[in-house]
């Protein structure tokens, strides 16, 4: 068995209201920035999986992402191996 580290990024799906992103965007003029738009706020989850192979570890990560880390109605996720 080996340990594999993954990062899962969870983002609101396009079209889903993201009031946090909108609030951040709304504050940009106070920083004198007018060239930034489409701010979206999501979540990054890092975790370590013990498994025989990286693909075995990835299968577990994908199950967690689907069932728990993201709500598929409103969020999309990507997973990548990290060190």
């Amino acid at each position: 068995m080996a340990e594999f580290r993954f990062c899962v990024s969870v983002m609101p799906k396009p079209g889903i209201l993201d009031p946090q992103g909108r609030a951040v965007e709304g504050s940009l003029p106070y920083l004198g920035v007018d060239s930034v738009s489409s701010v979206r706020i999501g979540r990054r989850v890092e975790l370590t999986v013990e498994a025989a192979t990286e693909s075995g570890a990835r299968t577990i990560v994908e199950r967690l992402a689907d069932d728990l880390l993201a709500n598929p109605l409103i969020e999309a996720w990507t997973a990548e191996a990290i060190v």
């Binding site: 609101p12 889903i16 209201l17 009031p19 728990l68 880390l69 709500n71 109605l73």
Partner: protein, 236 residues
């Protein structure tokens, strides 16, 4: 209560972080039921005829409201109860848990205002032919409080259309206070396809006695208790 020897039992599920469980128990008793608390680590409903998932902040609302509570050991029994046609009412955080569990459609996200909205609102009752609304007089709007940070009801457009078509919207925020959280179609509460699981963001249990400012919410608890009692009275 009816001399049949069986007093209807409402079970209130208590998650770590639930904080409206005692209010729910009290309101269910006012509505004529016997009550019991069901700790979330149990896997047995101890004879409860109907269930309430109360408000609060189960598991601190970490990850997403309801996302972790959905995997509590008791949720298997809650799903089985719902699948058998048993009544389940999710209030506020309880609604969020039911939505995360897929027992009612939709998701509840951060209020459009980004504020925790706690105030009195008015509800239009879209259907009175359900176990949760049968005691509501025709044409009456219900006054009760909301208190939530994540109550904005979201559903992809196609699903929202089919929800409306099957009359799955049970409650909508109504004038003059209106929609407190940005919910699609002013949706405050929904009912599942089979018609025995309901979730709503406002708090009927906090409007169950005149001294609280309104007893309109008791009508929903009375509907639940009467409907569950009628179901129990039918021989298997």
């Amino acid at each position: 209560m009816d001399g049949g020897g069986h007093r209807l039992k409402v079970g209130v599920v208590v998650f770590p972080g639930s904080n409206c469980d005692r209010d729910a128990l009290h309101a269910a008793r006012l509505a004529g039921a016997e009550t019991l608390s069901l700790w979330h680590e149990q896997t047995d409903l101890h004879g409860a005829d109907a269930l309430i998932l109360p408000g609060g902040f189960a598991y601190g609302d970490y990850l997403r409201a309801g996302a972790l509570a959905r995997f509590s050991p008791i949720m298997g029994a809650v799903s089985d109860h719902a699948a058998r046609g048993g009544l389940v009412l999710g209030i506020c955080n309880g609604f969020q848990i039911l939505a995360e569990a897929g027992l009612v459609p939709g998701a509840l996200v951060r209020n459009a205002s980004l504020r925790f909205e706690h105030r009195w609102i008015r509800l239009r009752v879209e259907r009175r032919d359900t176990p949760f609304t049968s005691a509501v007089p025709d044409g009456m709007t219900l006054r009760m409080p909301v208190a939530h940070g994540e109550g904005c009801y979201v559903l992809p457009a196609a699903d929202l259309r089919s929800l409306e078509e099957r009359r799955g919207v049970l409650f909508r925020y109504a004038a003059p206070e209106g929609n407190p959280n940005g919910s699609a179609h002013d949706i405050a509460g929904v009912i599942d396809q089979a018609g025995n699981v309901c979730g709503l963001m406002p708090h009927p249990e906090r409007a169950s006695e005149a001294v609280l400012g309104s007893d309109d919410g008791l009508l929903l608890l009375r509907s639940l208790v009467a409907s569950a009692a009628a179901a129990v009275a039918v021989p298997a």
